[in-house]
């Protein structure tokens, strides 16, 4: 059995000579309906000429990961993919911001996160402007009313109705990708876990899967399964936190109180396994925290008690008229818009787009124990709420099933992990995809012949999904923004890096 969630290519198999070829190949794959997993660039520093290395990763018709890779020399621009394939819009903006390579004809070529030379110039953002006598704009943030990460939202409204929402991010930019290149590749886990701290397990698993693939060192199936257990617990915790927020945002206090303490039960159980409520330390290169028989029984007991009470409070939410009145028909993202924009994860599935890396690109644990993935049809706040409830139910059932296995605790406790000096395959590209709570966390690591890791690309699912939130607000009332925002519950730091 081999993992379909991680793949390594020798770069000489991928290399395309000219940027034209690269762009044409991207167009062909996109026209054929391949899913664009990621598209990114880096400046080529070893070359004296102005060079940019671009990499695209697709999921092809057979569901396999495929990559394209090209070093451009002298090219300063290329015809943008976005006008024909809007799903590429944020990736092309990022390539432009990080490398200077211009996608000609991109309809909104604006900074993604104000990195590099643009740091600190947040006031310079070129907002859209809507013209008209009774048009007004409302700016919110970067600091918001609650305890929440910063981001700026600009609403262009006619009366109460939002014509367009523009989202400006980058406030959380810490330079994670630069930092990762400065350190020993085997010791990046604590930085990776702090990149998007609410998805620490998803991030750590993706990092370890990629680095282990490059080191040619797999972990035992039981160890891999324990990683999936951590990931599903993280999914439950984050989804329940979102449900808590949704209930609180509509002043449905009983929901808020109950989801709050249900999440506590899960994250405290995570802490009993990994030492940390966010699962930090659960996964390290070559090893995974052991789950003893006592912990296995503890998790089963915690999840069983959780499932019973979660079901009660869900019934209350789903049958309450006030909840229906607030969420149904609000913040709709159509299936068409979700497909066009390349939405991923929960937000995509709530709009009827059946895309889930646990099913489409399963690692070994999900091949051994397949997990069901559901979708909703309506694409509104209600659908995103219901999707989360269903995903929690699915994860609980999956966990209770795998935790029955006594072998889980028997094997793998003697893992020593990958040595700090382990050699990595040179001149290679490793890509890992882990379906985290919000959607696929994609990590791509490129190594060179002489220098070890030359590029570490992280792509949080939020990068693709923020524009979905903007679409959800169109023609809605500005007062619906909090519930729309919470129903997506995207990551700022994961976007800003």
């Amino acid at each position: 059995m081999i993992s379909r969630a991680t793949k390594v290519w020798p770069l000489d198999q991928l290399k395309l000579k000219h940027l034209n070829q690269f762009v044409q190949s991207c167009r062909q794959r996109l026209s054929a309906g391949n899913h664009l997993v990621t598209l990114f660039g880096r400046q080529e520093k070893s070359n004296r000429m102005w060079g940019v290395v671009v990499t695209a990763v697709f999921q092809d018709e057979r569901g396999e990961l495929q990559a394209l890779h090209c070093l451009t020399e002298g090219d300063k621009s290329y015809p943008a993919l976005t006008p024909d394939f809007p799903a590429a819009h944020i990736f092309e903006r990022e390539i432009w911001e990080q490398t200077g390579l211009v996608p000609e004809g991109h309809p909104w070529l604006k900074p993604v996160r104000f990195e590099g030379k643009r740091q600190g110039q947040m006031a310079e953002y070129p907002f859209f402007s809507v013209q008209g006598q009774e048009i007004h704009e409302v700016g919110v943030g970067p600091i918001h009313a609650g305890v929440i990460e910063p981001g700026h939202f600009r609403f262009m409204c006619l009366g109460e109705q939002v014509h367009h929402l523009e989202i400006q991010l980058g406030y959380q930019h810490r330079g994670v990708e630069h930092l990762l290149l400065r350190r020993n590749p085997m010791l990046l886990a604590p930085v990776i876990e702090s990149t998007c701290g609410d998805s620490a397990v998803a991030y750590a698993w993706g990092y370890c899967a990629a680095i282990e693939a490059l080191a040619g060192h797999g972990v035992a199936p039981e160890s891999d399964l324990r990683r999936a257990i951590g990931l599903e617990l993280e999914r439950i915790a984050i989804h329940v936190a979102t449900l808590n927020g949704l209930a609180t945002d509509i002043a449905f206090l009983q929901g808020g109180g109950t989801y709050g303490r249900l999440r506590t039960a899960i994250i405290n159980a995570v802490q009993r396994v990994s030492g940390n409520r966010f699962g930090r330390g659960w996964i390290r290169p070559g090893k995974t925290k052991p789950i003893t028989d006592a912990l296995r029984a503890d998790l089963i007991q915690t999840l069983t008690a959780f499932a019973r009470d979660f079901d009660e409070v869900n019934r209350l939410m789903l049958n309450s008229h006030s909840v229906k009145a607030r969420f149904k028909g609000v913040g709709v993202v159509s299936r068409q818009a979700a497909d066009d924009l390349g939405l991923v994860g929960v937000a995509a599935r709530a709009s009827g787009r059946a895309i889930d890396a646990r099913v489409g690109l399963p690692g070994i644990p999900y091949q051994r124990f397949p997990i069901a993935s559901t979708v909703q049809e309506t694409g509104d706040c209600w659908a995103r709420m219901k999707q989360r409830m269903q995903e929690v139910d699915t994860s609980v059932a999956w966990l209770l099933n795998v935790l029955k296995d006594e072998k889980l605790t028997a094997a793998g406790t003697e893992e020593v992990g990958l040595a700090a000096g382990a050699a990595l395959k040179p001149d290679s590209l490793a890509v890992s995809v882990v379906e985290g709570p919000r959607g696929p966390v994609v990590q791509a690591i490129e190594t060179s012949l002489a220098e070890g890791i030359v590029h570490y690309k992280i792509q949080d699912p939020s990068l693709s999904n923020w524009f979905g939130l903007a679409m959800a607000l169109r023609d809605n009332e500005i007062s619906d923004f909090p519930i729309c925002n919470k129903s997506f519950d995207l990551s700022y730091c994961g976007n800003d890096l």
Partner: protein, 249 residues
């Protein structure tokens, strides 16, 4: 109505009666340094530490930098390092955050009479995340959930800085947040305090060496309370604030 009563029954009573005495099972919290000698010239723990928190040869761990990852524990050939679940990690002094074999505990917080008098019954705080990873932010939110319920002591997070008595800072302070952070700080009326929550806010944490952060704010406005952790545990933050303000259990 019946559904609501059923949920109410399932909820029961969830609050932790005495927060200072809570036991966070499994929490990898305070580093405990055994008196055993290090192997000669060994720097294994330093080599794996992601935030430069360990000083040698007389081993000392700076909880202002430590992210409690525990990666040093298995690599120490002398078995000097372990972690306890003691969440009482906060200090009023930056240099009170160091632990060693000789000095195993964080310096106890001295109750400030002035702060007790002014804020002992009501403390309103404005949170700003400046490059935080949503770990500390979620834990700050958790302080007001039904388990911790720190509102019972008159401590609340407020929306407007105008209503706040202090700023709770999380994150290493990204350059892109410098201006907004200053605006928020200026909007809080005097007198006001800063509470630094988490390793990032205290020292930059794992991001300390990044060019993309700017630590000027924290150097200019000295925090009244430092709460270590990555993220800081709600119990560490609450116990720290209660100690600082002299609030009884």
């Amino acid at each position: 109505m019946i559904k609501s009563l059923r949920v109410r029954k399932s909820q029961g009573s969830q609050y932790i009666p005495v927060l200072r005495e809570a036991v966070p099972a499994g929490f990898r919290a305070k580093p405990v340094i055994a008196p055993a000698d290090c192997l000669p010239a060994c720097t294994a723990c330093q080599a794996v530490c992601p935030s430069g928190a360990i000083a040698l040869p007389a081993m000392q761990i700076d909880l202002g930098r430590c992210v409690l990852c525990g990666d040093c524990e298995p690599v120490c050939p002398a078995g000097k390092i372990s972690f306890s679940n003691d969440f009482r990690l906060a200090s009023t002094q930056r240099n009170g955050l160091f632990v060693s074999a000789e000095h195993p505990d964080i310096d106890p917080i001295a109750v400030s009479e002035a702060l007790h008098k002014r804020y002992g019954r009501s403390m309103k705080l404005r949170s700003v995340s400046a490059g935080g990873c949503n770990g500390c932010e979620m834990e700050i939110n958790a302080m007001s959930n039904v388990n911790f319920d720190f509102g019972r002591y008159g401590i609340d997070m407020v929306a407007s800085p105008r209503h706040a008595d202090g700023l709770v800072l999380s994150g290493p302070i990204s350059r892109n947040m410098v201006s907004a952070l200053h605006s928020c700080w200026q909007a809080i009326p005097d007198p006001k305090i800063v509470i630094a929550v988490g390793a990032c806010a205290i020292s930059g944490g794992v991001f300390a060496e990044c060019d993309e952060i700017d630590r000027t704010f924290i150097e200019s406005f000295k925090p009244s309370l430092y709460v270590p952790g990555c993220p800081a545990h709600p119990l560490s933050i609450i116990a720290g604030i209660m100690d600082l303000l002299g609030i009884a259990d």
